[in-house]
Subunit: 330 residues, 2 copies
Amino acid sequence: MDDIASDDFFAFSHSLPSFEGLGYAHNRLDRDTESRDETTLERMKAVPEARYYLFDGDQLLLREHDGRHDPLFCAEQADRLGARMDRVILLGCDPEENNAPRLATRLKNEALKALEDDRDFLLETVRGVGLKGLLPPDQLGSVAQAHSLLSWHENHPFCPKCGSRTEVALAGARRDCPNCSAMHFPRTDPVVIMLAIHRDEMGVERCLLGHHTRFDTPMYSTLAGFMEQGETLEHAVRREIEEEAGIKIGAVQYLTSQPWPFPSSLMLGCFAEAQSSGISIDPTELTEARWFTRDEVREMMRRDSSSGLPHIPGRFSIAAWLIRYWVDAG
Amino acid sequence: MDDIASDDFFAFSHSLPSFEGLGYAHNRLDRDTESRDETTLERMKAVPEARYYLFDGDQLLLREHDGRHDPLFCAEQADRLGARMDRVILLGCDPEENNAPRLATRLKNEALKALEDDRDFLLETVRGVGLKGLLPPDQLGSVAQAHSLLSWHENHPFCPKCGSRTEVALAGARRDCPNCSAMHFPRTDPVVIMLAIHRDEMGVERCLLGHHTRFDTPMYSTLAGFMEQGETLEHAVRREIEEEAGIKIGAVQYLTSQPWPFPSSLMLGCFAEAQSSGISIDPTELTEARWFTRDEVREMMRRDSSSGLPHIPGRFSIAAWLIRYWVDAG
């Protein structure tokens, strides 16, 4: 459940903390994928209020003025700034802006030098835009969507079934193969991310946090992993915690989800009941995993990543949301 | 939560009905994807207790004896029956059978005629194996996994990034491109499937069921749809119900999940609070959608698909599980 909802409608409902600050989770665009056809893109581009997100790789172009950041450019500006107007995709229409179309494309390489030298413009990573709060939360969802979709098109120009070059269809919502007629849809990879919780015989709860081999600060976070074919969400949670930390899991409780556009994961956030406490880590994934009490986690929550002391991820991530929710429930 | 768990561990826990009968949800194989390397497949094939699932398209080969159906064949039998022993993939090892390897492959076309004529053998669709209960529930999960994985390999022989022919890696858990070095992982498509529930001013609850354009009997079921990039599970539930039936949704409650191997969906089952009741269907998806009381649904549950009267899906599907759960909760 999220901020739209959560009254007492369901007998088993429970109130979850606010989703404010959970990155990329707010997307107000109406994609209307079902009603798209081969004329949609040109029709949307012709709307005077159409606006473009412009990317260089994983960087988003922002115009700075009065301390604010504007990520949207009209067609004429986009073209002048060096956007690839031949590779535009439609994200959707913004119902809060009179259904103005929102599109996205890449910047040409030769345009980058001028933009980097221009103090009116800023190129910031999709991750940085989120972490630094450069855009309102309900803009971040469409930036994430744009980044996932542009990445998918760039990494899928060929038909995996027959090897032919495919063509963009439905304004970017599909790629079609002119050779074998296969239709390819953008891929979303479900990922389980979960806080394992152990309650000892005294009733004291501790949560399991790991220091991942890829972390370059003393940060501890939840475990996570891609789901595999033919498993349930609950099975994936148990498998991942067992593989990474050797902990046996009982009950699994889904709480909330977050799109994670690197390139296109769906994070499914859960609590997991630890039925054992002896940790045995997978050293390719983790350098350490430990049980933490709520007081220890509260202390880590007060630190930031520059402290050099153990800390948890920033508010932006679903990992932080899960950890804070558990701490506050105690 | 599922049958392994669901005590009162979580403050907000709630007891869900049994998962017995929920198709494809039980898979006891240990895939051990993390520790696979280029020698894994040959090592597993060399284990005397290794057994193979054999498929022709979406049909599984079963040997019938004493009214029971056996889907597993040793290497020597598989080879003799006409299996493609050069296209074998590893599913995992069965911890309840001394970690015996479980593999899968296709039957050669020329082998089919003899098998169809042999009364000891039966070729049955993966769907039929499940619906007819020909195998124990904890075997169905590995059949689903095998079907998804074989389908993925067959439909992805080429690199979508560069168009070159790719090679099987990690005993079937990945495909690698020898040209551009891209690594491709099997795809799992998250799908939301949900029962919208409306409570009127008298407190009477009704659920929303639709007759899909693809149904060939008067069956009514939950709505469902593929998740799109950059949206949350909760957002996808709201979008799909609004698109298909024009109903506005408030709270969303995830309940359970089911792998659906046609070819590789992950069904995420939810309840959804209807905040409006005026139905406006998408005629490309639905021929009709209606609100049903618990009594009306109970009546439909008593009928089977051959009655010619409105009925709901069989117990096998997560749709039926969601509907029955709501009925029993009333």
